[in-house]
Structures are given as C-alpha cells and as structure tokens.
Symmetry: C2
Subunit: 365 residues, 2 copies
C-alpha cells in the first residue's frame, strides 16, 4: 500500500512510542500492570485537562464520549444552549436532541468565532447546560471558551458548561477548572498521537456530584465506580491505554514547550498560505479572525478562486501527503492542513516545502 | 514487564498477522484503502456469522454491540425473554432492563445448559424478543441455540431471536440464518485474536427491516447507512479493522479445520483435568454435560477440594501463564483455562505440560 503522510486533523501520524507499544503482546486488562497503566493514564489526563475532578476512559470515538457526558449530566427535557458554527458544535446539538434535551441553537456562519456576550445574552434562568467546542476542527477556529463560560455563568451560575476539547487537548492550553468548565471530552487520535478508539471524559467536582446513571455502555456513573479501581466496567481498549501511558510520559513534562511548538508549526502554515493570498477560514464579524482564535490543531483556508479541492488534494497526494477538505456547508469551499500528529523537525520542513510547491504549482509564480 | 501467556478466555494471545498490522503507520479512515478494508472485513464477517444480512462494525467492546442491538431492534415496553445462566446471559437482561424493556428472566443455576423446551414454554404471544448466549464464557457452556430458537419460534414466529456469539464466533460453528437468529453480536478480542476495541453486530433480513434509529453513538440505523459505503458514522478504530482483514484472510479459507483444532485443544484440557478428578462446570440437570455442550472457547472446572483459586492461579503464573477464575456466584469456586487466542502447536504442548505440572504439584501424585 502506498504510504501517505497524514496532514489531516485526525487521525494523525502516530507517536513513535505509541507504535512501539502497539506492536507488543496482549496484556490482560484485569491484572496489576494493566490497572497501574489505567490509573496512570487517568492521572496524566487529569493533569492535561487541568481538573481536580476525574477523567474516565471509554472504548469509543470522541462522539461516544460526548454522548456519555450529555446523558450522564442531563435529563430529557433539560434546556440547553448550543452555539453552532461548525460540524462539531452541530454534533453537540444533535446528540443533545437525540437524548431528548430541549436545545436552543445559536446558529452562526461556519468559521465564525464565538462572541461570549452574544452567547450569554441567550442564557436564561432555565438554561441548565451550555455546550461549547473549544477547537472547531471543521473550521480551524479556537473559541474563547473561558470568556464565554464566564459570561454565561454570570447570568446563570447554576448551568453546567461542557466543552469538546477533542482537538485542543495537547495542542492549545486547556485548563478545565480554571476555564469554568464542568466537563470536557477528548479522544485518542488527535493531540495524543494515538490511533482512534479511546474517548476521554473529564468531570469536574460539580459534574461528579450531578452524575446520574444513564444507559448501559456509555454509563459514566458505572464507569466511575470501576475506574477508581483501575478497571473499565467492560473490556477496555487496554492496548491504547498502554500506548497512551507511553506518550503521556514524554509529553506531560514538556507540555508548554510542546504547545508552543504546535502553535508555531500551524502559524507557519498560515504564513505560507497568506503569502499566496489564501484567505483563512476563522472569522470574526466576517473578517479574518486574529491569530489567537486560530486553533493550533489545523490551518484552514478558503480554496483560491478557480482551484478545485480535488486538484489541490491531488497535488499534495502526488507529493505523498494527505490533506482534508471542508465538511457540511464548507465542502468544496475550503481545505485544511494540520501538524497535529507526530512530526520530527525535518518532517515539518519537508511538509512545508511540499505545501509551498503545491501553491507554486497551482497559483504561482 | 514480565510476559505472561494468556490462557484467559479473552483478551487473548494476538494473531501474529494482527501484531504486524498494528505496528504500522496510521491510515486515514476516509480514504479508498480504508474503505476497501472496511468493506472486506464486513464481507468476511458476514460469511463467518453465516448471514445473508449485514454486519456492522462498532468502536466499542462487545457490550456496546449488545446494547446497540437491543436499542436498535426493541422499544421500551417490549416484552422479552432472557434465560440467565451465567454472567453474559445476565448482561443481556441488564442491558434490556436499562433500555426499558420488560424482561422475563428464566433463572437457571450458573453452568446449566439451556433446555430448549423449557425456554419455549415461557414464550407467549406477547414475547417480542429472545436473548441467548451461545458460548457462555463465564461457565464454559455452549448452548443449543438453534434448537432453542426453533422451539421458541414454533410458539411465536414473530419474535426476534438475538444471540451473543462473542466467544463462539471462530471457535464453534456459527450459522446465524440457519440457526434462526435475527441478530448476533461478537467482538474483536476473542476468536479473531485481535486486541479489544471493536464490536460486530450482525443483522439478518428481518432485523434489517425492523431496525429503528436509537440514540446517537450506538445507532445501528445510522451506521448501516454509512457502512454500506465503507465508512463508520464516526471515526472508527480503523487500525483494528485493518488487522481484522489480515486475520480473516488467513482464517476464513480454513475455518472448518480451525474450529476442529480449537475444539480439539479444548478437549485436551478437559481430558487432562478429568484425569485428575476435576469436575467440569457445564452441567445438564445438575450432572456434567455431554461434550457437545462444552464451549471450545474455554475449559471450566470446579476447584478441587481444598485448593484455593489464588494458589492454582499462582502455580500457573510461576510457569508464565495467566488463567481466569470464576465470576459472580462462581467466584472462588471455579477456574477457566482457554486456548482461544493464537497458539502455535509447540505453544499448545508447552501450556498443556504446564497445566499437568500444576495439577501434579497441587493434587498429585
């Protein structure tokens, strides 16, 4: 099979420590070494999420983690607010609706950065929940989550604020408790540079008190009971847990430097694109948003006039790289290119050179 | 970390082809090679399950697959029948109850083989579903699923029969359509010799017609739509899908021989244990059941008088092998030893020698 390097915003190039771990023999999940790894990963992730609460590991994609959080913290009939400005914020709304919640959607143009005051203006006394998307992978926006939660809780301190940090964890600063979040969800196949298959659900102290049993498989109350002892309620993807421990061991001690590096790599992509006149997708009031609202998870540009996504992606593929297109209303209108996975410095240089060559081929000189 | 060989009935020793595949680089799930693998695995499993219907892949443990089947095929208030004779048949009852179904439990002593006529006697006109466990991993029983479904459907042809084949698929003959089953569920970490993390839900033609949208993540109706095109509705554990394709490619062409080999290996364990006077767990009317009701997935014995499980398991561990104890009411009363995973012929001999040495140490001469 031809080997493509993934410049996609998940799944991503695996961390070498993860690959080594995944090539190993099977470990039984109900053994002491497995329990140690399980607890070490929960503890490492607690630090990464920035919470004094708990992190639960689910054998599921990030979407499964999102649904578990919705069903564990809310009941049918609860009123919740969901600003929708991309595919993943839309997913919060869909999951909440499927769980029987009364969803007040704030519809924004895809790519628009959240305005904390505009969100807060829609919070009422009856609003029990607010669902946010920290890094909106479909548009490349990094939303001002802390400011939005602060404004929303100023109007209703009782609401529960829950964020999708799937592509901000390990890529942008995440500090759940300090950001006012009661819960947050991430997955293995993004900033942690592992294969897909594991979701992480972080619960702060208020969320832990509010947790209720819900369903069977995606039941956080039951998982909490088992996981405090280092075991999943059901057979967990223990191979991914072991790989996560390996990557966390090297990543956590240098997390700040790692975040700076990831942001720097992403800004190089934006700088290169802008040099060729490409327009970034993240927007504020319809104009390109300031760099602090660009997610380090991916650069996202509108396609240049007259260039089809197929041709652009094909030019990358001929050079051995896979990029991503747009989703939903942005399909065929944007492209995304990401250093979210593992890239040694020389691999970053090679990929940037390839991006430059593609732009030169399609737009230059 | 000290390396133990797993004689546990899941997770199991991995197939070498699976390990090789899992050590590879990340493949993006929305690419042509990924779609090809996804469709090949669905097709291979369709043949393994023995259905003209469809097999769906879920990123979840087998329990997640069981819940998806329950919620996709039944509605709150539906009356269903669940014979309970071990941990996994009890799980069907728990999942069905959590989904709001009205569950009629037939409580049997754990380890007892199902009596088709006794089950059928409890089927009424209002019985919408029957949940069975083909290989009851907690007791080592292989239940007469075909006979039970036939007797039950003779009384009510409209009921939907669903089976857990988690530890019978690739270990004992499974032929879903011919057995009268409308749906069946299995997982990756058993007879397919992969790590945990992928559930398989097979749906026959009646089940496909009856499928309804349910929930969000474990929504078979939505998965069916995506998976017919070779994609999961959400990011799937594509690395496990690729590994599954590798193992299926070598297993399916020789499946009959493989099943005979697995049964033979398991019968050697029973023969050895019985030579030392151990009593097998599978029972019919309270006496040891005939060999055809012993699941090839695991041998299960009552602990000999005066031998604690801890001591027996420790004697295996000193020789580098991990076995499994009892669950639920059988905890501390039985032990289980399994060749479910990958064992080269000389590895089988080594493990059997170790079992003999353990029995000699604890019971002999």
């Amino acid at each position: 099979m031809r080997r493509e390097v993934l410049l996609t915003p998940g799944p991503v190039e695996l961390h070498p420590r993860a690959r080594l771990s995944l090539s190993g023999p099977q470990l039984h999940h109900r053994t002491e070494p497995a329990r140690e790894a399980f607890l070490a990963v929960r503890e490492g992730l607690r630090s990464a999420f920035g919470t004094a609460g708990e992190v639960l590991l689910l054998t599921a994609s990030g979407t499964g983690g999102m649904e578990a959080a919705v069903r564990g913290l809310f009941s049918p009939g609860d009123r919740v607010l969901v600003p929708v400005s991309g595919k993943f914020s839309e997913r919060w709304a869909e999951i909440a609706e499927a769980a029987g919640l009364l969803v007040d959607r704030i519809e924004l143009p895809w790519g628009e950065v959240l305005d904390p005051e505009a969100v807060a203006a829609r919070v009422g006394d009856g609003t029990r929940g607010l669902f946010l998307t920290h890094s909106e992978t479909s548009t490349g926006v990094l939303n001002p989550v802390a400011e939005t939660v602060r404004a929303a809780k100023a109007k209703n301190p009782d609401l529960f604020a829950v964020a999708d940090v799937v592509t901000s964890l390990f890529l942008a600063p995440v500090a759940m408790d300090a950001m006012g979040l009661d819960a947050a969800v991430a997955g293995s196949q993004k900033g942690l540079m592992l294969p897909p298959g594991l979701a992480f659900v972080a619960l702060g102290e208020r969320a832990l008190s509010a947790l209720r049993p819900a369903g069977y498989y995606l039941n956080l109350a039951r998982e909490l009971e088992s996981q405090q002892k280092g075991e999943g309620a059901y057979t967990p993807a223990i191979n991914l847990v072991l790989a996560a421990r390996e990557v966390l061991a090297v990543l956590l001690p240098v997390l700040d430097e790692h975040l700076a590096e990831k942001r720097g790599q992403n800004e190089r992509l934006y700088a290169l694109g802008e040099r060729y006149g490409l327009r970034p997708v993240p927007a504020q009031g319809g104009s390109p948003a300031p760099p602090e609202f660009r997610s380090p998870a991916t650069a996202a540009f509108y396609l240049p006039e007259g260039v089809a996504y197929r041709d652009l992606a094909g030019a990358f593929l001929r050079r051995g790289y896979r990029i991503a297109g747009g989703q939903g209303p942005l399909k065929g209108r944007i492209f995304r290119i990401s250093f979210m996975g593992y890239f040694a410095p020389e691999e970053v240089e090679r990929a940037i050179s390839a991006f430059a060559a593609v732009l030169e081929e399609l737009l230059g000189p």
